[in-house]
Amino acid sequence: MNLHYEIPSDDLAHAGEASSSVKKMLVQLGIDPVRIKKAAVSMYEAEINAVIHGGGGSAEVTIDSDKIVIRIIDNGPGIADLELAMQEGYTTASDDIREMGFGAGMGLPNMKRYADELDIQTRPDKGTIVTIVVYFHQ
């Protein structure tokens, strides 16, 4: 099944709603809880990044019986140095954002850790597309 979510810009109060909705569905499908966690955490991180760094965007999610494919799309500034951004602790988040408990520089490393496949397409001033795949069976 295909799902579409709008991701608001800079609205941290509602950030994470898409991933928690997807999580709820995976639970109702009876997916292994360990796999659900992998999908939910990696999607949450990508979703939050789109809110904070990407100026909002959308999520396109496809679930079938053996995997979930999550695409988080934004039209923001893009990631200047992807290799650097992937490092634990690297962040460009402002002090305000850090005060709200984000900006530890752990989002991308966590995505890498939890996604079975992770692909990031990013172009300066064009935006970023993060694709996450999690398989439901080994």
Binding site: M1, L3, M25, V27, Q28, G30, A40, N110
Partner: protein, 434 residues
């Protein structure tokens, strides 16, 4: 007892079919059908939220009557530490405990004392390598059952040690059998409880095949009897054995303080517990070793079967804690050697109560239908259909337990369509009448 025995039940006669409880339930376990609330057994975690919220007192917790103690020769009361918060501060702990002997019990053993043994075992677990941090206390059975239905990834974090209630029951029985040379089968141990979830744990335990507790009596049901006797009770018997660490367990934060880690988190109130467990599951809680989570606001002092207001009770517990601290000069009471294991003998497994179908293809079809129905519902979550939210109604519909027209807005739409059709038909006249 069946797997789905619950202490929390509905008093049909009192239920008015209002929708207060369905919205409050943390596991969406209640629906209103035919004017009465229905509890979905496999989802209920016995947290007692519905007992507290119901304006008509139609939700109750099944516990035993005081007369259960009559079927045993030697009767021991094991009161939860919450008991100390229920009486005016001028009554000493020892007087409160002795009063149980004035209403029919032969002996009293404090659950607070057993809590000190559980704290000791927890401290050992925390210092072991390889423990899955944060360790989560299993002292509150409603939280254990919540984890079982909603947070399967945290089952391994649970501390699989028996509750102070179980440990107290075992210790009291063993000691009495040895000292008084009484056949253990003649000894009855009765938990005096503020808690509905613990009553369920005795009748349908998850941590062992059978509980050591022989009956569960609510504080509410015997409070007046105790009050009538407390002034005239002889308090010469030394029944108070617990130290301040055990007494403090009644309060939220008490267990956390007893395990002595720099980084513990104490959370109370079932909805707060859910937020914290969600954060733990998503790796959003850093450098916390131990989590004390209690379903009731204010901890067990706020239990649905307690009598005194939780905040008043809190202040009183503090007084008892300070008094014991002074006697103990701030240090911990020594524990007698206790050689029996208090580790759970049964495992708990994930209960996927939200799963739509055991066949993933079928579940997927149902989920698609559910989403389609949900999109079509007004999204007001008004509860008039008897489900806690529009999405929950959509879920009930695909499970075959409800109809789209249970939604009053959908019903009105249908009526309007029908009316339009009737009008159209009415305007048509037979050709002969032209």
């Amino acid at each position: 007892m069946g797997e789905y025995f619950h202490s929390v039940t509905l008093d049909e006669a009192k239920c008015k079919g209002c929708t207060n409880c369905i919205k409050r339930c943390p596991t969406e376990a209640i629906r209103v059908r035919h004017g009465k609330a229905r509890i979905i057994n496999e989802r209920c975690i016995d947290c007692g939220e519905c007992i507290r919220i119901c304006p008509y007192h139609a939700k109750k917790a099944i516990t035993d009557d005081l007369s259960v103690i009559d079927s045993f020769k030697y009767k021991i009361a094991i009161p939860a530490p919450t008991i100390y918060g229920q009486f005016k501060p001028e009554y000493s702990r020892n007087r409160i405990l002795n009063t149980f002997c004035s209403i029919g019990f032969d002996d009293v053993y404090e659950v607070a004392r057993a809590a000190e043994y559980v704290s000791d075992a927890t401290r050992k677990l925390l210092s072991e390598d390889g423990a899955k941090k944060p360790l989560i206390s299993s002292a509150c059975p409603a939280v254990v059952r919540l984890i079982q239905v909603r947070f399967p990834n945290l089952i391994d974090n649970l501390i699989k040690l028996e509750s102070p209630m179980e440990v107290a029951a075992k210790m009291a029985k063993k000691k009495t059998a040895e000292k008084k040379k009484i056949d253990p089968s003649d000894i009855g141990v009765f938990f005096i409880t503020p808690c509905a979830a613990k009553a369920t744990s005795v009748k349908a335990p998850y941590e062992s095949k059978q509980s050591s507790v022989d009956g569960v009596i609510s504080i509410k049901s015997i409070y007046l009897k105790l009050l009538a006797k407390i002034d005239r009770t002889d308090e010469s018997r030394q029944l108070a054995q617990a130290g301040f660490e055990g007494i403090r367990w009644a309060n939220s934060g008490g267990e956390g303080l007893a395990v002595e880690t720099d980084s513990f988190l104490a959370v109370d109130g079932i909805h707060n517990v859910i937020s914290i467990l969600e954060a733990v599951e998503n790796d959003k809680i850093e450098s916390v070793d131990f989590i004390e989570a209690l379903a009731c606001t204010g901890g067990c002092l706020g239990g649905p079967l307690a009598v005194e207001n939780v905040y008043v009770a809190k202040t009183r517990i503090k007084k008892h804690v300070e008094a014991s601290k002074a006697v103990q000069k701030g240090s911990r009471l020594p524990l007698e050697p206790y050689d029996e294991s208090i580790v759970w003998t049964e495992e708990i497994a994930y209960k996927p109560v939200l799963k739509l179908d055991s066949d993933i293809e079928k579940a997927m079809k149902k989920l698609e239908t559910l989403e389609r129905i949900n999109k079509d519902l007004p999204g007001l979550d008004c509860g008039a259909c008897g489900a806690p939210s529009c999405r929950a109604l959509a879920e009930d519909i695909v499970r075959g337990n409800a109809y789209e027209t249970d939604c009053i807005f959908k019903l009105r739409e249908r009526v309007r369509d029908l009316a339009a059709q009737m009008k159209e038909l009415e305007e048509k006249s037979p050709p002969t009448m032209g």
